[in-house]
């Protein structure tokens, strides 16, 4: 079942056409990767899914409703979670607090004036959050302040924050950016686990190793246009893709 449909999306920035008639369909429970050389428009496209940018024309439909003109929190409440290129977490709070907040958001909605209740008494939320930290392997650091984590661990925390909301769609913007090999492999394992639970994922990536380990389908974006959309094995030998990259791929 198609869960995300992007149709005829165009976006111009002044004289530059960043996105040109982009079409994309993502089936539920699959991992769909978006690759392409630098400047191809991948991040621009992602920003159109998350309420940061409005496309000039086109539609973005998710689970039966349009994602356009929604605010970021509304998009999240619709079931879309995202991970940022540089992990965005609550640095001054502890890990457990970091994961409890999205849990609260899922349970209580976008706003609730729960000013006289006590966080300590929220056992269920606490338990759920601890489970997520277990899943990503950060149990022992639950009471650590998030700013002290390594980059790889911050990424895991961010993923835990997304998972606790049981998202229908998980958007990942270069999840292994800036990571060394060991960290990257760990992240791939974690992402595979997440995919194994049936969570739909859209991944923007540069690291081909990551892409080919995870993706069920790949869209290749170059200069704002989707040049190919196919299964991974067909992408590998594709001449057009190789031309687009001109040696930029890490194979």
């Amino acid at each position: 079942m198609t869960i995300l449909t992007v149709r005829n999306v165009n976006k111009r920035f002044g004289g530059l056409k960043a996105l040109n008639e982009v079409n994309l369909t993502v089936e539920q429970g699959t991992v769909h990767a978006i690759i392409g050389p630098n400047g191809a428009g991948k991040s621009t496209l992602l920003n159109c899914f998350v309420g940061r940018l409005e496309p000039d024309t086109g539609t973005v439909d998710f689970d039966g409703r349009s994602l356009l003109r929604l605010k970021p929190h509304e998009i999240n409440q619709a079931g879309v979670s995202r991970v940022f290129q540089t992990p965005e977490i609550f640095s001054d709070l502890t890990l457990i607090e970091n994961v409890m907040i999205p849990a609260f958001a899922r349970r209580d909605g976008a706003f609730k004036l729960h000013a006289l209740e006590s966080v300590r008494q929220e056992r269920d939320i606490h338990k759920h959050a601890m489970m997520m930290l277990d899943d990503v392997g950060l149990t022992r650091q639950a009471e650590v302040v998030a700013s002290q984590l390594s980059r790889g661990d911050k990424r895991r925390l961010e993923l835990a924050m997304c998972l606790v909301q049981d998202p229908k769609l998980l958007l990942l913007d270069e999840p292994t950016a800036g990571m060394a090999r060991a960290d990257t492999n760990n992240t791939i394992e974690l992402l595979k686990q997440i995919a194994g639970r049936g969570i739909t994922m859209v991944v923007i990536e540069h690291d081909m190793h990551v892409v080919f380990s995870l993706a069920d389908r790949i869209s290749v974006l170059a200069q704002g246009t989707v040049i190919v959309e196919d299964l991974p094995e067909n992408i590998k030998g594709n001449i057009k893709v190789q031309e687009a990259y001109l040696g930029g791929a890490h194979l």
């Binding site: 929190h73 995202r82 965005e88 977490i89 609550f90 001054d92 004036l113």
Partner: protein, 394 residues
């Protein structure tokens, strides 16, 4: 210092209640145990606690909170004029009116963040200050300030009511007990305890907020508002709620000020008065529970004390030294005391922001940690977290 636990919070609350109730004794050795000053400790403590809910938790720096203080005062005085000197309706109106203003100003100002927000609040406060002196003079009485005149209706006043602010007959400024503590005079008056009750309630509410999911969201706003939005939380109502809550605290403080002295003047709304509550909160320790009250008391105390020190007093202090040195010291210290209190305050503020951004509370915590370490308990020292005060520290 105290872990984030039920017991820790209870102990904190108990400590606070006891300190506040015994304040006339505690203040006596410092020469501070008289009604006017004690009341100021309590009232500005309330102001600072409320400001801390906004600034300490969300990080939004408002330079316009004095406007709510002023509005609260004016509202209270109008109740005195129209109804009676009974403080109850006055306070109710103070909080409501201040809250309404806070909704309006907050709604507009919070459309922006960071310094834009600060300037917006400053702009609104200055606007209200200017208006209070000009157009709103029917309400505010301009420079003279608003007070109760013999011609005022006071519709609900009974013949038996006192001719000053009271709570159902109990006069606010009446001193019901004068005693000695450690050789210093301690005065107990109704007004202080009236304000102190509100202070305790204010503290309790702030503690609840701090420990609540709402408080958690506010702290998340401070550290990464963007992330919070993408996590499905609509941050605007959260920040507005924090703003209005802190505005209502300020309104209550303003109303209480009028309860102690039924006079409301526009100078309370000047941006320098807003600056003062910023100073109090930061000096005490923003984001902590005890910090704001500590900072408020500290500033009000030294304001009272310093203004009494003049060259004669200084010379007396230094009289045990040979005359030329005594004279020199007097000259050096003189600009910092008496009329120069603001100089000392400004310098102290800078020192705190530069070296001890967690304020006096951070200083106290560090000293306690040091003492624990010296006391031989290495484990206990490790349990404390270095640097900034975080959740769990009072």
């Amino acid at each position: 210092m105290l872990a984030n636990s039920r017991r820790g919070d209870r102990a904190l609350l108990l400590f606070f209640v006891v300190s506040v109730l015994l304040m006339p004794f505690v203040a006596a050795p410092f020469g501070a145990s008289y009604p006017d000053l004690l009341q100021k400790f309590a009232i500005y403590g309330i102001f600072a606690i409320g400001f801390n809910v906004l600034f300490g938790l969300t990080g939004y720096l408002s330079f316009g909170h004095a406007a709510f203080l002023g509005v609260g005062s004016y509202a209270a005085v109008w109740m005195f004029k129209l109804l009676s000197y009974n403080v109850v309706p006055a306070l109710v109106l103070s909080v409501i009116v201040a809250g309404l203003f806070a909704v309006l100003i907050g709604f507009i100002s919070l459309r922006r963040t960071g310094i834009y927000f600060s300037i917006l609040t400053l702009a609104f406060a200055q606007m209200m200050f200017a208006l209070a002196y000009s157009v709103l003079t029917p309400l505010t009485n301009g420079e003279t300030g608003q007070q109760v005149y013999t011609g005022d209706p006071q519709y609900l006043a009974l013949a038996t009511d006192p001719d000053t602010t009271h709570l159902f007959g109990v006069k606010m400024n009446e001193v019901f007990l004068k005693t000695e503590f450690l050789g210093f005079e301690a005065q107990f008056n109704y007004g202080y305890y009236f304000a102190a009750i509100f202070l305790i309630i204010a503290f309790w509410i702030a503690l609840k907020i701090y420990r609540s999911p709402f408080g958690l969201m506010l702290r998340a706003v401070k550290t990464n508002q963007n992330r919070l939005n993408y996590t499905g939380i609509n941050t605007k109502p959260y920040t507005l709620a924090a703003f209005v809550i802190s505005g209502m605290y300020a309104g209550l403080a303003g109303g209480l000020l009028a309860c102690m002295d039924p006079l409301a003047g526009a100078e309370r709304m000047q941006w320098t008065a807003s600056g003062e509550v910023v100073l109090m909160t930061i000096l005490g320790g923003a984001g902590t529970m005890l910090g704001p009250v500590l900072g408020a008391s500290f500033i009000k105390y030294f304001e009272a004390v310093f203004s009494k020190i003049n060259d004669h007093v200084l010379h007396d202090w230094f009289s045990f030294l040979p005359d030329p040195i005594a004279n020199l010291l007097t000259v050096i210290v003189s600009p910092f005391v008496g009329q120069g209190w603001h100089l000392t305050l400004g310098a102290l503020f800078m020192v705190i922001v530069i070296f001890l951004p967690g304020g006096l509370m951070e200083g106290i915590n560090r000293v306690m940690r040091l003492m624990r370490k010296l006391g031989g308990s290495e484990r206990a020292a490790m349990a404390g977290h270095p640097g900034r005060v975080r959740e769990g520290e009072p």
